[in-house]
Symmetry: C2
DNA sequence: GGATTTTTTGAAAAGCTTTTCAAAAACAGA
DNA sequence: TCTGTTTTTGAAAAGCTTTTCAAAAAATCC
């Protein structure tokens, strides 16, 4: 049986209120007694029972992270950033793999309503009205990571996808490419689908390069869809010299397709990805990509969440983190 | 304010004891009243307060998973198995990245002592005496995943590493290889280091193939160490035609080294890995490897944990899951 | 030193559930 | 219908903390 606050009180010969104070607001109790109490706590190895305190003030020191799938390296790395901050703050984080499944999302949320959490980080998926309503019910701070919350006034931490994709285009153009294909995310994905495609195309247009519908194929960010998309793209546009993929996993899929067809990357076709997941440096040739500071996004989102938990009233500032192009070996310089 | 058991009792015109019974042992209350209570619960949207119940019976419906690093795809997949079972059981899982760091392990454990968990899954790292002592203090069931607990009588779920490595050797030999290098895990790792090396070497010996110390290099399971190990191995044994790596990540590292040196895999040097992480099929050529049923290991470990939580008294049966060789494109048939 | 203000302390209540034990109700048997 | 069993129910206690409020102690001021 663990020692309780009563045991400590008896040992130190004070009331339980005093013990509680020593634990929670040490300055409010006279040094002499405080030392006695501290010593008793030490001796008995007392730790406040979290259920009892939770029962009163409903702080759980636990946050939740909703993630599409921890098996995906991009999310794993982002999550790691969250966890590292949470540990610093002596909080636990409960992980929720939603698989982008509405039912599972709801299941988790109803769960959190009863088993309280102090805050929630929602990662990467587009926020719908339904989501937003559910967040509101939860009555705890919510922070978005790698997704946009503008529409609902939810604070977020992300990268400027439009600008990043635009930079990818410039990079390819500067390397002498003119006939460029795009493997985009889903056409209806407002987070990483639409803006990355738009940013890329607008940049092309700015350089006077038209970009027709036949130069883009759509995938779902994963390896297999990248493989398939590349097949389609190559079928309709065999003349292209470079491809921009809206995720590294798709870039890898595209590369695999090309290589297995006996094509040489980058000499015949160059590829640039997006995300800079850890795998991208492990393949050969190593993937050139637009790096999102994934780990940092997780960290900042968690930090923001804890700030909001501490000060629920003050406005949270969203954060747009910088991106950069990591030049490795999959883009050929044609100049 | 959430409705309490009292609100329900009042609404249904019964005592709180009855409501509690309806929630916990519905059969113990007469149908007529039970229906009234159920209806009241429905109407008010009552959910028992987990702190209050935790305060009494100290069940948290939360388990913890201790993992070296969720960023590593092998662990991520194993973890996913855990999480899927936990969700089925309406439990949450708290994730702990230990980074193989003793201090961090202890930090988490002391944390769990106070903030109760119902059980713990310890993944992949070797269990030391210190670990074991700490587990005992925790007073909750512990299950090991992808690591061995024989020495401490802890139940585990894993693969037979010795046999699996031995099969890898046979496979290489049957494909006509005679001069084979090994990239092993650390020489003092009793889990995946020693047995895989031993299994491999013993199989070689059984075929009458001597295997000297110069034919093995040691790494730490990750990509970079595989890269380095391959460099060393190639330096001392340029005549080798095949390499067995004790992890896919190291195999990928080895492959990268070879390819970047302009060597052709598998025509010049064949590679077989271990784990079958999802990346292994994404590289080109796709990696031939000894598959551990990683996801299944996680699932079974979690299932075993919940069984033990339910019946703490009965002996837990450890589980040895089967492995298989996934033949892809990195082993050349020399026959 | 005595009156007054400030600081420190303790008793008790509140937070919500589960379970024990005894009482009440239902049932069975004659 | 009455007695004896069995089933169902409710009151109350236990589980442990934080916080409020009032009392006690200390400090301050004339």
């Amino acid at each position: 049986m663990n020692p309780t606050i009563h045991d400590v009180a008896r040992q130190a010969n004070v009331s339980i209120s005093t013990v509680s104070r020593v634990v929670n607001q040490p300055l409010a109790v006279r040094k002499e007694k405080r030392d006695r109490v501290l010593q008793a706590i030490e001796q008995l190895g007392y730790e406040p029972n979290p259920f009892a305190s939770g029962l009163r003030d409903r702080a759980t020191k636990t946050i939740a992270a909703m993630i599409p799938d921890i098996t995906n390296p991009f999310y794993a790395e982002l999550f790691r950033g969250i966890e590292d901050i949470a540990r610093e703050q002596k909080n636990n984080v409960i992980i929720c793999n939603t698989d982008q499944d509405e039912a599972r999302f709801l299941e988790y949320m109803s769960y959190f309503k009863k088993k309280k959490i102090d805050g929630l980080i929602f990662v990467s998926a587009a926020v719908t009205d339904a989501h937003h309503a559910t967040f509101a019910e939860l009555q705890v701070p919510v922070v978005l990571a790698a997704t946009d919350g503008e529409r609902f006034g939810l604070p977020y931490v992300k990268v400027n996808d439009y600008a990043a994709a635009s930079d990818a285009a410039s990079f390819l153009i500067k390397n002498g490419h003119r006939s460029i294909g795009v493997i985009s995310g889903p056409a209806d994905d407002p987070i990483a689908g639409i803006p990355r495609l738009a940013g890329f195309r607008d940049a092309l247009a700015a350089y006077g390069l038209p970009h027709g519908a036949n130069a883009v194929a759509y995938g779902t960010y994963d390896f297999d869809s990248g493989y398939e998309a590349m097949r389609k793209l190559y079928g309709t546009m065999p003349e292209l010299t470079a491809v921009f993929a809206a995720s590294d996993a798709m870039a890898l899929g595209a590369m695999a397709f090309l290589q297995r067809r006996g094509m040489e990357v980058p000499r015949q076709i160059s590829i640039i990805g997006f995300d800079n997941i850890s795998l991208s440096r492990m393949v050969t040739p190593a993937l050139t990509t637009v790096a999102q500071p994934v780990y940092e996004i997780g960290k900042q989102a968690a930090a923001m969440l804890f700030r909001r938990i501490g000060n629920p009233q003050d406005e949270a500032q969203s954060l747009v983190l910088g991106h950069e192009i990591v030049v490795r070996d999959t883009v050929w310089n044609r100049n």
